[in-house]
Subunit: 344 residues, 2 copies
């Protein structure tokens, strides 16, 4: 019923190894026999068995993608499909399949990764997040297993290959943009400081402030999670500060929309009263009211390069680690205005 390499070999009057070589298109086989074997394969409807091939060749032709499925990384966020699309496009052109893992907790992720690695389910792994002191990443390093990460690793930066934006720089830029519009009371809305991306962006923000001689005020630090839990409360308390912010640096357009909605409920207008800048430049941000000034971080590219580097490493494990920086672009729209209070 199942047609194997032996059946093909018999039918084509060659040895199984010859068929195997035809499959891998070995140059040591004459075009004539290649042609004949391929015809038989076609005729018999032969398809190589991945498991058997993996077992014998010790390569699975699949890469694992670790995608945190947590409250932190809101799943309704288009970030993930977009990176995935990048990864899968590259993987596919290199004939690699994608094995997806979505753990909810750190332990679950760790468990899945170890079993993927030890059980040889995949040839390499791309990590879609970078958190401080991550045992999964440590495990991967210690096991010397091929992996790349989307984001900057917390530790051993020089020893892992990763793809990232220059988050410090770009956040400094976008904060400067607000400063140049006359804003000095600028809040930073970000995710957990367990994630390196948050740390980097916060540093960029602080850098811009300090270069402009604006003191850092930690009342202006808002945790994204608080907004997701109870946005109204979080925004209310922010705007009820003695000197409420007139500018907001947000990490994600989705959060920006939500904040704007709450502000409007409080009769605070964007951009008239408060200016807001954000990241990710979702398609939608062009059409929202107001349209949002957002940093395009080239999500697709991030995924594409991460897969590309990973496959290079798989093919040549001695490759030196490297950092790929994906350029970003500030897309200026209508969510920012000059600070009205500038003369105060």
């Amino acid at each position: 019923m199942i047609v194997t390499i032996k059946d093909v070999a018999k039918e084509a009057n060659v040895a199984p190894s010859t068929v195997s070589r035809v499959i891998s298109n070995s140059p040591r086989i004459s075009e004539k026999t290649k042609k004949r074997v391929r015809e038989v394969m076609e005729q018999l409807g032969y398809h190589p068995n991945f498991q058997a091939r993996s077992l014998a060749a010790k390569s699975t032709q699949a890469i694992g993608v670790i995608m945190p499925n947590s409250a932190y990384h809101a799943f309704q966020n288009p970030f993930f499909p977009e990176v995935l699309r990048g990864i899968s496009t590259n993987a596919h052109t290199n004939k690699y399949g994608i094995y997806l893992s979505t753990g909810s907790t750190e332990d679950e992720i760790f468990e899945e990764v170890t079993s993927m690695v030890q059980g040889r389910r995949v040839d390499g792994i791309v990590l879609l997040y970078s958190r401080v002191n991550d045992k999964t990443m440590k495990f991967l390093q210690e096991a010397d297993f091929p992996f790349t990460v989307v984001g900057r690793p917390d530790e051993n930066e020089e020893r892992v290959t990763y793809v990232d934006n220059d988050n410090i720089f770009i956040t400094k830029q976008i904060t400067n943009y607000l400063i140049k519009l006359g804003h000095t009371n600028i809040a930073f809305v970000g995710g957990s400081l367990d994630f390196v991306v948050t740390i980097d962006r916060l540093n960029g923000y602080k850098l811009a402030l300090s270069e402009a001689g604006i003191p850092f005020n930690d009342e202006y630090l808002v945790n994204e999670e608080l907004i997701k839990e109870n946005g109204k409360k979080a925004i209310t308390s922010l705007m009820n500060l003695q000197s409420p912010p007139t500018g907001l640096v947000t990490q994600d357009d989705l959060i920006a929309y939500e904040i704007i909605s709450h502000l409007e409920n409080m009769k605070i207008r964007v951009p008239d009263d408060v200016s807001i800048v954000s990241f990710n430049n979702l398609l939608l941000s062009e059409h929202s009211k107001p349209s949002i000034t957002s940093v395009d971080i080239a999500i697709y590219q991030l995924g594409y390069e991460a897969a590309k580097c990973l496959i290079e490493i798989i093919k040549n494990p001695d490759l030196l680690p490297r950092r790929i920086t994906i350029p970003t672009k500030i897309i200026e729209r209508k969510s920012c205005a000059n600070n009205k209070n500038i003369s105060m």
Copy 2:
């Protein structure tokens, strides 16, 4: 370096077959030896090799998820991460992995599916779309390979297991909602008629019209793709009809946002001048201006059930095909109003 079942066997003074039985928790092994073997496994850091197991047992413990990566299925749409989350949650609790395939064209998808099936990469497949006359689905049926689909199959409905909303009914309902508000000029914005979901929803829409005695006008049929390509043009020509619509039934909140944005540019107010209803109930739709009345189709559930049914079929191939209908809910918000022209 790699610890195999033999190493464990030697260390525990049993035969490899015994270790194998311990792994599958065979009742024929005494608790005593189970315990001992497990200790050795732990101590040696043993992890079973998936490939070898698959090859010998002819089961991969992985399900394939086919996700069309096309312009039609805008990838920035949160639909996919959300179904995926449902699928992966269920798969994971059943100890199945997820193998992802994202083809861009019909042929690419077909190619990937055949190779997944014939190459025994997966034990079953969930199809994340249903299109008219789909050769991939036909192939799966003919090969008698376990699969489920999210959406209603075009053909052989009674012979495949699928998970869907009652799209005809719910679209009729939501159209009725508009009719009850006094709208008679109601446009339908939908995707390609190659997709069964579009066909069903269009039928629901037509049903509502006909029951209300409103003639169907095909000038009110707008193709979603046109909006994605050139929304401005599409909306302009719709609103410049002799009698422009005062109500809109849209297939996706994302499209709704975009339409609203174009309408506002034309100084047409939502909901004052035009009412709009939509599907998917994205998180965001609560915060958009105006907030959108949308059908919650329980995307997560759709995925969860599709995976559940698939795994049941894999475990018991003789199971009869069945249809799972996931209930929907209309979430009323602020994008609709009574028709001002009602007295005209």
